[in-house]
Structure formats: C-alpha cells, structure tokens
Symmetry: D3
Subunit: 269 residues, 6 copies
C-alpha cells in the first residue's frame, strides 16, 4: 500500500466459536495483499458459544457482541472490518458505531463482484431456512433483479467442512441446476463456511464462483485502500449519525468486558 | 372473548427503563377489551438501562433481551406479544422463538389500520435520523406506495412527554404539512412515545391519526382472538422454522436470568 | 365489546343468490365475538341473479348493488362491512360512500393474517381464470413479495361445496404443491366459497390455512372495535372524499329500491 | 383503409349525459381517417343521468352500462371501442365481453403516445381527488417511472368547458409547473373534457400535449387497422376468457334494454 | 391518409446485409395503408457487413450507422422510422436526432399491441443469449409484469428463414410451452427475422401472435398519422434535447458518406 | 501486488480528444497502488473528434471505438479497463468482448462506494439533460432506492475545468441542496470531468464526496487484484457469451485501424 503503515483489516466471525478461525486465517494469508495485516477474530464465550447463527434468534443474541467488537476494532485503529456471516448480520448497526472504519460483509461484497462478471447469478445455500432472509438482504443491497434463485444443499453451517467430497458433490449439483435450468452465469456460495470450494467448482461448472469469505476480506481491504488514498470514510450525517459518546457512556453497555474471544493475527509482509 | 380464560397480551417496551410503563399500562387499560389481560413489561437492567433505542446500535444491544422476553412470554402462555417500538425492533427474530404466540409491532399494525382508512398516509417521527430505517421497514411490510412521506419534529424519544403543549404544536405542524402539501389522507405517529396525542391531532387536522402503541396492542389482541377462535398460530415451516430446543439448551443463552425488569398487570374485567 | 351497544357487522355476499347465506351465517355464528351482531346479506334479484362473479364482467354488473348496499348499511348504523368475495370487488368504490363505517374484504384481510404468521404464502384458487386479477389485487395491497404463487384446482365458485371429499382432496393437492415445491409457509383459500375446509387442511399440511370468509368477518369486527374504542373511521380527505349528497340525490341512483335480497341476522349474545 | 368496408369505431362516453357528445363528435370528425366511421355514444338515462364520474362510486354505478354497451357494440360489428373517461373505467371488464372487438381507453392511449415522444411526462387533472386512482392506473399500465407528477387545476369535469379562457390559463399554469419545476418533457391532459386545448398549450409551453379523447379515438382506430390487416383480436385464453353465453343468458342482465342513450354517427368519407 | 401527401415511413434494418430487405418490403407492401409510402433500407457496407446483431458488441458497431440513417431519414422528410431489430437497438439514441420524425422499434410496438389484447404474454426468441438484454428492454418499456417468460428455440437470427417447416415446428413448441405451462395469453415473436410465421402459429395455438416487424411498421405508421393529424412530434425538452447543429458540424461524424446500403421503395397506392 | 508482474489497468476516455488525458494521468499517478501500471487512453480521431459525449447520439457514435479499444486492451493483456464516462457508456457491450479482462465504469463504481459509506446519496451533474439516462443507469445498477436526487449546475462537460472557483462554488451549492433539503448523506460527482474537486467539497459539506474517475480507476484495480488472486474473470455463459472469433473476422470491423488516439503510461513503481 502507498503509505508505510500496513492496512489493518479485521475479519470478525460473529460466533462464539473459534474452531473456524484458523480456516479464515489461512484464507486471509493466501488472499490478502502483502502490505495488509489481518486479524481474524471471533466473539467471547460470554456472548454465548454459538457455533453458527443460522437462526434469526441466534443472530439477535450475538448482535450485542458485534457492536462491541466493532467499537473495539475502531478504537484499535482498524481501517475496515468484515463481518463473517452471509446474512451480513448487523451490518447497518455496526456501521453506526464504526467511526472512521468501514464495515462490510460477505453478501454485499459477493454480489458486487458477481454483478461485475455476469448479468445473472445464483446463490448456493445450506438450508432452505436461510432463503427468505437472504433474499430480503439481496433486495436491500439492490441485486435482486440479477438473481436466478437460491439453491439449498441440505447442509447446516457446521456441516460444510465435515466431509469435503460430499459437500463438493452437493455444491456441484446445486450449481449445475442454477446454470443449466435457471440460466445462472455466475454463482455465489451463500455461507462463509463454504470456504475452500470455489476453485474446484469453477473448473467443474465453467462459470465464476464467488467465495463470500474472500469477497468480504477483499472488499474490506479495498475500502481500506480507498480510505487511505482518498480519505473516504463513513458518513455521519442523517441516518448515518452515530450515538453520542456521553449517552453511550451513560448506558454503560458498549465497552464492558473483552470484545473478542479469539484472535489470530496475519501479519503484513 | 368467547372462551372463559382471558386473552393474555404482553406489551413489551424494549428498553431497560420502566418510567414509561405506567403510560402504556394506562393506555392498555383504556383500550383493551374487557376480557383481555395485558402485561406491560420492560427489559431488566442487566440488558442495559437504555431509555430509548433511537440508534441502530442501541437496538442491536437489546435484541438479546427481546428474544429472552419473547421466549419467556411464550412459556408463560401469552397469546400474543406487541414489541413497543416503531422500528418494529427484532420482530422477525422474535417470531422465530414465539412458539404458538403471535408477535406483532407498532409499525406494521399502524400501517394496516391506516391503509384501511385512507389511500395515502404520512408518518410523523421525532428525528430525521430514524427515517431511512423506518422507510425500509415500511417497504418490507408492503406499504411504501401509500406513503406521502416522513415528517420529523426535532424531538428525541425521551422528549415527547416533556412538554405536551410544545409536542402537540410540533405534531400539528408536521401533520398539516403532510396533509396540505403532500396530500396525506391519514397520519401515523411514528414513535410509541407519541402516545396520548392522537385524539387532539384528529380534531385539529380532520384526518385519522393512528397511535402506534394502541395499534400494536389492538393488533396483538386481534391476533389472540384469531388464535383462540380459528387456531391460527405461527407457521414453523421453512424460514419460519424455530431453532431446535436441544441446541438452544446447549448454547445456554436464552433462558438465563430474569427476562423482565418491570411488569404492570392490567387485569381482565 | 367495551360499550353496551353490540358491534354491528355486515357480511355482504355480492351475488344475487341467497343459497350460500346460511353457510356464511353459520360461519359468523361460530366465529364472531359474543357482543357482535352480524347480518349476512346478499343482493336483490333486481341486480341480477348472479350465483357467482368469477368474471370481471359479472363483477361490473354487481358493483352498483354493492354501492347501494354499502350506503344502506352505513345508514343503518353498521360499524363495518365485509364484502364477501376474494376479488375484493368494489372495495375502494364502497369505501367512498361508507361514511363512518369501515369496509374490508377477504383478500386484504387474509393477506394481513398470513403475513403475521409466515414470511411466504400461497393462494389456492378455483380456476386459472382468476389469477391475473387477484395477483393485481395482492400487488396493490402490498403483499406480492410474499407470494409463493397461485394454485388452481379446476373448480368453479359454485363447485366447492358440491362434493366435499373431492374438494378437500384437490385443495390438499394444491396446498402440498405450494408447500413442498414452492416453499409456501402458509396458505390462503382464494375464494369465500372454500369456507369450511381450513381446519382439515391445516391438520393435513402442517401450516396455517387462512379461510377468507372468516378473515373478512374478523377484520371487520376488528375495525369495528377500533372505531368504538379509538374513534378511527375512514378519512374523507383527498382521494377518500365522498361525493356530495346533493349530487347523489340529483343523479337519483343510489337509494332506489331494496338494497338487500336476503338477510340473516346473527344476534349478539 | 385497405378493404372496402369502413373501419367502425365507437367512442363511448360512460355517462348518462349527451351534452358533450357533439364535442366528441366534432373531435372525431376532425381527427379520424377518411375511411373510418365513428359512433359517439353515451349511456341511457336508465343507467343514471351521471354528468360526470369523478367519484369511484359513480364509476361503480355505470360499469353495468359500459358492459352492456360493449356487448352491444361487439354485436353491431364495431372493430374497436374507446371508453371516453381518463380513469379508463371498466377497461378490463369490458375487454372480457368484447368478443372480436378491441377495447381501449384514454389513459393507456395517451401514455403510449407520450412515451414515444418523450422520456418523462406530467398529467394535468381537474382535482386532487382523482390522483390516487389515476396513479394506480398509470402504474398498472406500466408508465409510472415516466411520470413527473400529477397537477390539479381545481376544476371539476363539468367545469372545463365553461370558461375557456379561465380553463386555458389554469392548464398553462399547471403545465408550466410540470415542465419548469419537475422537468416534464411532455404533458397529458388527464380528462376527456379537457378536449380542445392541446394545440394552444403546445404553442405556449413548447412541449407535446396529448389530448386523451383524440388519443383514445386514434388508438381504437389503430387497433381496428391491425385487426383488419393482421387479424389481431383479443385473446380469450386464461384470464382473458369470456363468460359462457348460456350463463349470460341465464343471469339475464346483459342484453336488456337499450344500451345507448344517445348516438351521433360520423360517417366514413 | 387525410392530407394529400403520402405518409412516409422508413423501415431500417440495422445490418449491413440487404438479403432480408425484400422480405421486409413484401411484409410492408402487404400491411401498410394504401396512402403510405415505405422505404425499406439497410446500412452501407462501410458500417460493416453484419448479417445480424445478436451480440451487444455487434450492436455497438452499428449504432453509428443507425444515427446517420436516422438523421438522413429526418432530412428526407420521413414522418416516422422503425428500427428493424427486436433489441430496439439505439432507439433512444436515434430519437435524439430525429428532429420532427418519430422513431419506434419492434419490442415496444409489439408489447403495446400484446398488452391491448391480453393480460400476460410470452416472447419467443432464438437463443438464450438474447434474453437478459431483452428483459431489461421490456422492463424499461414498462411491460415486465405482463411477461410469462422468454422461450428460446436454439436458432440464430440467420437461421429462422432457412427451413420454414423446422422453424415453425420449434416456434409452435415454444409457444405451446408458454401457453400451457406458463399461462401466456398471447405471444410475441422476439426477432424481426421470425417474420412470416404468425398466422400459422395463431391457428395452431389459439392465441394472438404478434409479428414484431409488422408491429414496428404499423406503430410507425400510427405515429405518422398522429403527427399529420395532431401535430404530435418528439419533445426536445430536457433529456429529449437534440445536440446543437454547429457542434454536430464541428465533430463532422454525422453526415459523412452514404447512410444507406440498400433501399427498396414500396410506393403509396 | 502479490505476484511480480504489475497489475495493468487501462483508463479509457471514450472521446476523440486527448486534452483531458493528462488530468486523468495525474489522477492515476496519485491514486494507483505502487505495483499498478495505468494506461490513460482516448479514442483516435478517426472515430470522431468528440470532446464530450453529453448526447446519446454522440455516445452512439463512439461505441464502435470503445469496442475496438476494449478488444485491443484485452489483447494487450490488461487486467481491467475503466470506461471514463459517468454514463457508463457501452459498459455491457464492452464486457462482451473483454475476454479475461474485467470492465468497469464510473457510475457503478461510485455507487458501490457511496452505498458502503452512507444510506442515501445525491449525484451532482452538469446539465439536466443527463439525468434521465443516468437515472436509468443507476436503477439498472440497483441503487435507485438510495438516491436523494440529481442536482444540475448548468455546466457542460467541457466547462468544469474552465474556471475552478466558479465550478467549485456551483458544486457546493448543489451539494448543500442535496444534503440540507433532500437529506443526502454522501455525494457523487456525476461526470469524470468534475475530477479534482472532491476533497474541498468534503471539507465544505462534511459528507463523503465520491470522485467518479478515481472510483472507476480503483474499482478496475480492485477487479485486477481479484483476478490475480482468485482467478475471477468474466463469465462467458448465456447472456455473457462472446461472439465467435470467426464471425468477428468475417465481419471485419473489430480489429481495423489504430484503436487509441492517445496513450499516457503511468508506470508501476
């Protein structure tokens, strides 16, 4: 990066479960720019030991942790933060308290990339349960007219990495349906735990396949570059206004306890 | 009500601040059906002493409390629950864990009523800050094509009940703008703390004015009646699926501590 | 109801055919609140002896009768009127002349309920013929993004009550398709003559099934309660303006002849 | 026209009031093709002596007459029929029973023309009362994204032809607002009784001004030409299905009495 | 036509390939009004000898030629011009330099007709490749809510006229799918080279089938009639503003070389 | 960048006018990453000496040149290309022939950034003329629901750099209107020739101001990084299919003549 200080990116896994952090750290090490420092974090056990947040009610339990983590990351001087769940959990909430740090997330990051490479794309998810909420998110992001559909493979978040051969076979089946029956021109993997499969899927299916964890990381890094070079930081006007610090202090809920349960630092080169 | 057991409604103020509970209890006492029992509750101090949740990040801090309260209410046998904030905070999240209890909220309840009485309505809010999120909510509910606009009166949630004359004057000014300049045919008060003003506004402005606290309470009561008479309870299929109880138990976050910080019971007649 | 005078609801079957009136009266007797008085009415023979209004041109023939009936009901002091056809025939027209009486109809009433119990629902209709118009109605009401689709069972309005076993079998087949193939989470029966089947369908299909006749009746009763307790009556501003009485008198078409061909009164308890 | 038989167009004024018929007949005589025969008709007094149908409830009273007139026109061998009201009153209803005759109306005809001459247009109406319904109609026709807005001049349908200088002055004022403040590139006069002003408005405002009566007449004539030369007549499939003749006969409402109250024939040259 | 001078219509085939011009000339001769003069033209070889423009990049190569041809046609005194490609290639660009001449194209012309004859229609195209762009065009025109879908028959533009029996068989197969499976009530042939099949398809499928070449020609003729009789010519206000002539001259690209590569004149009778 | 070969980006000014190229080269030199090589190019005089393409017909004249330049850039091994006009001229056309090179443009790039920093933004353009087309583009990109509006300053493309003080004053005036009256939270400068003003505007207005030239350059660089690190290149499936090379050769229009009129190379560090 242009300056001398490394870009600082946080990849926050919004679960109280650190087992996947090394997977994301390996992904980050492989995909970040040399001058970027990435911290892969997850939530503390005090926020609940959620191993996944497939349910809206699980998300609702961890948003508090996301806000605390966002605030802590901003205070630590991170340039950008990626929330590591394809629901883009608490994205707008976190943006409100991110100060000069940009916040992004996998769904919006993936849709931007897919839209630049194709006119129509499908999203492969684990369970039908997820579809309604993700469709609302894609609509809010402005990409609904590009969707060929959602395709579920009957796997939960914690199942994707159990049997790679089985997972890959199911993802290929769903991808083929999207491309051949519904005329998708690109695919998005609709869960950050689908990490690691995109290259094989691309080879098998002949269309771009977007990995949402990588997309979120790279979108965060892109935002960090824009911040450094152009000074583009979040608006704090109208709906983007942050809460007043004295009120935050008075309510006393934001800065209590350790915000992270785990942290793996991937250093800049 | 047809049966013998009273309808049980909870009106949950999603703040850790009980000062407004008597206002809502008085509203409930005045507006409930005789055979309805209403519990006005708010969140425990352990969830943060938020006196308002005007900010998205404040909402994100209290969603955990809303989930716990919803779950507790369902277990206590409530027929329906109204979440007392015009953001309809955590409505879909709460519905997921409400079991056989119906969950509703002020924005959706008010829009349904306004749409049945007029073709176009305006929403009077406290601050411009709120508009973007509320507009998304109204769009998601399906009423955006009926909106004449949002009108802010430069008052925070905790200001509405401070100086009634001043508040009323501002609400009238905003309402007049909506009706005369933007052709609104009805008005919605876009904050549950705007409670108590609707009748005077109606007299002054000559159009229906919907009070969102009353709307939420009555919509909950209506849902309770439908449940009792027709057996209509929430779907648990596809996106409406609830999390598995064993997993909830394992994560250990849902049923810990006292879910309510305050409770006023308005008895059935 | 809180006061002493019973709530007065009219359920108007917009056909010149009284044979179904007892079915609706039985439905009303079973589902109304004790303090509610329901009049089930249909149109006079002078408006044509339509046994159904499946065709737009049939609807166009009976709108005159609906206007006259609405006006008569308002004059008789009814609190609310439900138009008993899932096309929501002449809903906006009738609202214009309803004075202080609220007018509702089955489609809007059913969609509101289904949307409170699920995120996505299907509508089971008699014939494909109906779909285009009903889809426009659902879109106008604001619920199109929740639709899984329409499912027709190749039965006309007057066929549903002929062979209950056959009807039920077809409704179950259509419902299963909606739920299993198109991921509907709830169902609406898209014809008031599908009355009587919802409970069995719910048992068989495991999702909420909304009966539109009951929904319309209960929505009218809910509106009547809101009128009594909150004073919420239709707006008469801008597009909701009523025609001037002297002009109505001059045109001489509104108050001629008997507005009802049949009336069954279901008394308040 | 190609063949030898003149094209037969009916311009149906859906009111029971013949005073404007000569105005429309003069318009037709001036604007039809030589080989076209135009019958300007209005409804019989038995359908109510409505001098205008500004109210939805007035429309609801005359739809029966429109259906009867449509059916009669089809039986008389008309090629196309234009319903002479900018609400496009009963357009879809009439199409159902038009057999091989095409039915059109002023709003859809005007929007098609304005969209071919500009990217954005405004509609000048008499009273604000009309706007909500017309906006729904424009949306249904598919032109809402082209609207700069509606502009009302505080004149009723029966006022436009009273004081031409006053009317013109108001139309110019509204048109100027549309063009200069809201960037309209063309204008539509949103009432068939605004007939006669478009040429002067065009000169004064410098943008195309569409007269809806002429638009409806010419769109009907265009449809008639397409019918004669290409055989394009209305679909009768699915939602376009017509009611069965035996049922129509049984209900006995369609072919009773004289369908027209007045008729002026403008002969082919 | 009313006046004495024939209506002058140009049908411009936006390819540098004259082989299809006689087909379009025969179509024009058969379908124009007697008093209409039609010039069927195509682009000069200097603009590239494109035999079709199925690809967006091919279109991008010929837009220059379309602009030059449009300008030349306007200067020659044509009343209206139809661009002979179902992509409606360069429609808005050409309108900008058409002076007092109206420009139309097959997709918009066909949709207007289909919408007047049915509530829902399908479009039969050659290859899936075309669909995304055409769907955007249909959406921009405002007809997307009427679409049952696009149906491709695996034929390129230059294949349709090779084996008529084979083409017809495929069109019938696609049309049947649209009507029977997706409930289309009318069909549009989505390529001007599908000319010649519509009558047989109508007979076989029992629904209106719109030929886009004829639709474009007749829509141009209709526009020409409106221009002559009502003076309705394109707006030149705001986004419809034409470039200044002195700048056009300075850039020196518009009026160089012969604009047409071929011309067949179909005389007025 | 991770590998050793510099990222190669082309910034193509789609005019036949090299005077602005040094401005863009200076912008690129200041804003690119060290390891990125940027070529700023414009079109050859043979494609017309357009100094701007404010008119659709001007765009239509240069699309041929854009296609040729895109193809040449792909052949030269560029990783990504940014089309330097806020109309995003020929974006989809160019993508079709870009082979493994990603194509982006200022409008889409700016909207993505503005949406990541705010919930609602305004676009400051030169002339009202541009608005309709740009609004369609923003809608197609999926950002229309975030627009506060377009604000024109009555300057043409070639005027922005004439009197910097005057330009800045006008941009500030428009920006203030957007922020204060229409509640914009960020601004986009809607013309690549508005380059150079964003920092001062940000200081004066207190909201993020996106420079579209920088946005396009950086989005191209981001795409290049994703290509190198993840292998994400354009889909060639369905609507993204490229034309066959043998046909391109046969038509003989794509690879003739020099594709660039000017080129400034900004070397990698």
């Amino acid at each position: 990066m242009p300056g001398h200080k490394p870009l600082k990116i946080m990849f926050l896994s919004p679960v109280g479960y650190a087992d996947s952090d090394p997977i994301f750290a390996a992904m980050a090490a492989e995909h970040k720019l040399p001058g970027t420092e990435v911290h892969v974090t997850s939530l503390p056990a005090s926020e609940g030991g959620f191993t996944h947040i497939e349910y809206r009610s699980y998300e609702a339990m961890v948003t508090r942790g996301i806000i605390r983590a966002t605030r802590a990351a901003a205070r630590e001087g991170f340039d950008a933060l990626a929330i590591g769940c394809f629901y883009d959990t608490a994205l707008h909430d976190a943006r409100e308290v991110s100060e000069g740090m940009i916040v992004t997330a996998p769904c919006v990051a993936s849709c931007e990339i897919a839209a630049s490479l194709s006119n129509r794309f499908g999203i492969i998810v684990g369970r039908r349960k997820w579809v309604h909420q993700m469709q609302s998110t894609v609509r809010e992001h402005g990409h609904e007219h590009r969707l060929s559909g959602f395709y579920h493979v009957e796997l939960g978040v914690n199942d994707f990495q159990k049997d790679h051969a089985e997972t890959e076979q199911r993802l290929i089946g769903a991808g083929r349906k999207a491309v051949e029956e519904d005329f998708a021109e690109a695919l998005i993997l609709g869960c950050t735990m689908e990490v690691g499969f995109y290259r094989d899927l691309e080879k098998r299916l002949g269309v771009p396949v977007i990995d949402p964890s990588i997309a979120a990381l790279k979108r965060a890094e892109y935002a960090a570059i824009l911040k450094r070079q152009c000074g583009w930081v979040p608006s704090r006007k109208w709906s983007s206004e942050a809460p007043p610090e004295d009120e935050i202090a008075r309510f006393g809920q934001f800065d209590t306890g350790e915000p992270f349960g785990n942290r793996i630092v991937v250093e800049a080169a």
